[in-house]
C-alpha cells in the first residue's frame, strides 16, 4: 500500500472569484423613474396619451435594465433582470382588469347601497322611486342554497366512490369521463334541461326557484366531484394503512381518517363551486323566471336572483333609465360582496379544519 502524500495546492487555481460587480439595490427603481420621466416627456411632446406613455415606459425599462446590467454585471444576471421585468409586467397587466372592475362596480354601486335598498323589494316601484333588491338577495341565497344541498352530497359521495372504492374499475373510468364532459356543459343548456325536466311534471310555462337550483346543481356537481377527488388523492395511503392496521373497517377509515384529513380542501372546493354558480344568469332566466316581489317559496312561482335582476334592470330599466341602471350596479356590488364573503369564509373554515402542525 502506498502512503498518500498531501498534494500541494496548484498555483493556477490559487484564487477564487466569489465577488462580482453588481448593480446597487435601487438600480431598478432608478431605471423605472428615468423610463417613466423620459416616456412622459416624449409622450407630452408628441401627444401619445397615458396608454402610449405606459407602454413606452415599460419598453424603455425592459431595454434599459438588462443593458445596464450587461455592462456592469454579466449575461446571466442581465437575463435574470430582463425576465423579472417581464414577470412584473405580466402581473400588472393581469391586475388591471381586476382592479378596474372592482373600482367601477364600487364607484357605481356604493352610492346605491342604503338600508332601504337592502331590505325592500321592487314591488310597486315605479320610475325613480327608491326600490330594493331584498327579493333578489333572498332569491340568490335560497336558489344557491338548494343547489348546494343537492350538489354537495352527490358530489362528495361521487368523489369518495371514485377514489376509495372505484379506483381503476371501468365504472369509475366512465364516471370520471362523464364528469369531465359535464364540466363543459354550457350553463344555458343546463337551464333548458331543467326546464324540460320540470315541464314533464308541472306542464308548460313552469317557473320555480327549485328548478333553477336543479339547473345550477348540474353545473356545480362536476366541480365538487373533481375537487373532492383531487383532495382525497392527496391523502397519503400510509394513513389508510395505519387505520386498517388498527382493525378499523374501510368505511370508518374513510369517514373518520380520510375525510377529516381532506376536509379543508374539500370545503374550499365546495365554496369555489358555490362562488362559480352564484353568478349564473342564463339558466335562471329560463327556469326561475323573474318577479318584482319577494318569493321565499322555492317550489312555486318565479324567483328573482341577483344576476337576473341585474340583467333586467340594465336591459329594461324603465323610465327614467338611470334609476334602473343604478340599481343594477348596486346589485352587482352586493353580488361581488357575497362572493367575496364566501371565499373569505371558505378560507377561515379551511384553516379551522386543516391538519394541525406545530407543538
Amino acid at each position: 500500500m502506498a502512503t498518500i502524500t498531501p498534494t500541494p495546492p496548484t498555483p493556477t487555481r490559487s484564487s477564487m472569484h466569489l465577488k462580482t460587480p453588481s448593480l446597487p439595490r435601487w438600480a431598478p427603481l432608478l431605471v423605472i423613474a428615468i423610463a417613466v420621466a423620459a416616456s412622459a416627456m416624449l409622450g407630452l411632446l408628441l401627444g401619445w396619451g397615458p396608454v402610449g406613455i405606459a407602454v413606452v415606459a415599460v419598453v424603455l425599462y425592459l431595454v434599459g435594465v438588462p443593458l445596464w446590467s450587461r455592462l456592469v454585471e454579466d449575461g446571466r444576471r442581465a437575463k435574470d433582470r430582463m425576465m423579472t421585468g417581464l414577470v412584473w409586467t405580466a402581473f400588472v397587466l393581469a391586475l388591471i382588469p381586476l382592479v378596474t372592475l372592482i373600482w367601477k362596480v364600487v364607484a357605481e354601486g356604493l352610492p346605491q347601497i342604503n338600508a332601504e335598498f337592502l331590505t325592500y323589494s321592487m314591488r310597486n316601484v315605479i320610475g325613480d322611486q327608491q326600490g330594493g333588491i331584498y327579493h333578489a338577495i333572498m332569491g340568490t341565497l335560497l336558489v344557491t342554497a338548494w343547489a348546494a344541498i343537492i350538489s354537495i352530497p352527490v358530489g362528495i359521495f361521487c368523489g369518495i366512490y371514485l377514489v376509495e372504492y372505484g379506483k381503476t374499475s371501468r365504472l369509475a373510468r366512465w364516471i370520471t369521463f362523464l364528469v369531465d364532459v359535464m364540466t363543459g356543459i354550457p350553463s344555458i343548456v343546463a337551464g333548458l334541461f331543467a326546464y324540460a325536466l320540470f315541464v314533464l311534471f308541472f306542464g308548460e310555462g313552469v317557473r320555480m326557484g327549485f328548478g333553477g337550483s336543479v339547473a345550477l346543481s348540474l353545473l356545480m356537481i362536476p366541480i365538487v366531484v373533481r375537487s373532492t377527488e383531487e383532495m382525497l388523492k392527496l391523502v397519503p395511503d400510509e394513513l389508510r394503512e395505519a387505520s386498517y392496521a388498527l382493525g378499523v373497517p374501510k368505511w370508518r377509515t374513510v369517514s373518520k381518517v380520510v375525510l377529516p384529513t381532506a376536509m379543508s380542501g374539500i370545503i374550499t372546493g365546495v365554496t369555489l363551486a358555490v362562488a362559480r354558480i352564484i353568478g349564473e344568469t342564463a339558466p335562471l332566466l329560463i327556469i326561475a323566471g323573474k318577479t318584482d316581489g319577494l318569493n321565499m317559496n322555492m317550489f312555486s312561482e318565479p324567483v328573482t336572483t341577483l344576476p337576473v335582476f341585474i340583467y333586467f334592470s340594465y336591459t329594461q330599466p324603465g323610465l327614467p333609465p338611470e334609476a334602473g341602471q343604478a340599481r343594477a350596479w348596486g346589485a352587482a356590488l352586493v353580488l361581488i360582496v357575497i362572493v367575496m364573503a364566501l371565499n373569505l369564509g371558505a378560507r377561515a373554515i379551511g384553516k379551522f379544519f386543516a391538519p394541525k402542525k406545530g407543538r
Binding site: K167, T168, P236, E238, L239, R240, E241, A242, S243, Y244, A245, L246, G247, V248, P249, R252, T253, K256, V257, P260, T261, M263, P355, K356, K357, G358, R359
Partner: protein, 259 residues
C-alpha cells in the same frame, strides 16, 4: 395472550407477478423474529401478508397457509378487519393521524371503532401505552397537541403506542427504525425487548446489527435476480445465523460479500 404463527408453502402475488415463493416457517410466540435480506426480496410483502394488509394493494393475492392460533388466516370465513385487530402493525415511515392530537392518536384504535370508553379508562390506556412506548415522560405535558408536531423518532414511538393500545396478539414491524437516528433506534430496540414478554413480534430490518441485537430467530430471504420471486433461504436461531449459518448465501450476505 401472544400467539405463534405457522406459515406453510406461501406464495404471494402482485397481479400475475410472483413476489414471494414457497415460504414455510413458524414464528414462535413471545419472541422476536427478524426478517433480513436484500431490497426487493419480499420481506415486507411477507410481513404484510401476515395481517392481511397485503390485499389492500389492488391485484395482490396469496396462495398457501398462514395459521395463527389454529385458525387459517386466508380462510374465506375469516374477517380481515378482525385479523388486523389482533395483529397490529408499525410501518416504516411514522404515520400519526394528522387531524388528531397525541392523546387521540394513541386512542385511535378504540375511537375509530367507536368503542365507548370512560374518561378514566381512556386516560389509563393512553398512559400505559405511552409508558410502554418510552414516550410518556416526553409528551405527558402536551397530550392535547397534534401528533405531527413530534420529532420523527417520537412520532414512530407514538405509532408503536397506538399499535399496542389495542392490545394485539402479534406486532408486525416493517423497518421501524429506518428513518430514525441512533438514539431513537436504541429507544425502540429497548422497547422491543420489553414488549416481547407480552407480544409475538416480527420485525423486518435492513440493519443486521439490529437483527442480531433484538431477535431470537432470524429468517434470511434472497432472490435469484431481478424479476424472480423472493425465497426463504434460511430460518434459524439468530445466534446460529450470525455465527455459523447453514447456507453459504446467508454467510455471504451477513459478511457483506453479497452477490
Amino acid at each position: 395472550m401472544a400467539k405463534s404463527i405457522d406459515i406453510s408453502d406461501l406464495d404471494i402475488y402482485y397481479g400475475d407477478f410472483l413476489a414471494v415463493e414457497g415460504v414455510s416457517m413458524s414464528v414462535r410466540a413471545r419472541s422476536v423474529t427478524a426478517f433480513i435480506g436484500p431490497s426487493g426480496c419480499g420481506k415486507s410483502t411477507l410481513l404484510r401478508s401476515l395481517n392481511r394488509m397485503h390485499e389492500v394493494t389492488p391485484g395482490a393475492r396469496v396462495d398457501g397457509k398462514v395459521v395463527i392460533d389454529g385458525q387459517e388466516l386466508y380462510d374465506p370465513m375469516i374477517d380481515p378487519v378482525e385479523v388486523r385487530r389482533q395483529i397490529g402493525m408499525v410501518f416504516q415511515r411514522p404515520n400519526p393521524f394528522p387531524t388528531m392530537s397525541i392523546y387521540e392518536n394513541v386512542l385511535a384504535g378504540s375511537r375509530l371503532n367507536s368503542r365507548k370508553l370512560k374518561k378514566s379508562e381512556a386516560d389509563d390506556i393512553v398512559e400505559r401505552s405511552l409508558k410502554h412506548a418510552n414516550l410518556w415522560s416526553e409528551v405527558k405535558d402536551r397530550l392535547g397537541k397534534p401528533g405531527m408536531g413530534l420529532s420523527g423518532g417520537q412520532q414512530q414511538r407514538l405509532c408503536i403506542a397506538r399499535a399496542i393500545a389495542v392490545e394485539p396478539q402479534v406486532l408486525l414491524m416493517d423497518e421501524p427504525c429506518s428513518a430514525l437516528d441512533p438514539i431513537s433506534t436504541s429507544a425502540i430496540e429497548d422497547l422491543i425487548h420489553e414488549l416481547k414478554t407480552d407480544y409475538t413480534i416480527v420485525i423486518v430490518t435492513h440493519n443486521m446489527q439490529q437483527a442480531a441485537r433484538v431477535s431470537e430467530d432470524t429468517a434470511f430471504f434472497n432472490l435469484a435476480g431481478a424479476g424472480k420471486p423472493g425465497r426463504l433461504i434460511e430460518f434459524n436461531p439468530t445466534k446460529k445465523i450470525f455465527s455459523n449459518p447453514d447456507e453459504p448465501a446467508t454467510e455471504a450476505y451477513i459478511s457483506g460479500r453479497f452477490g
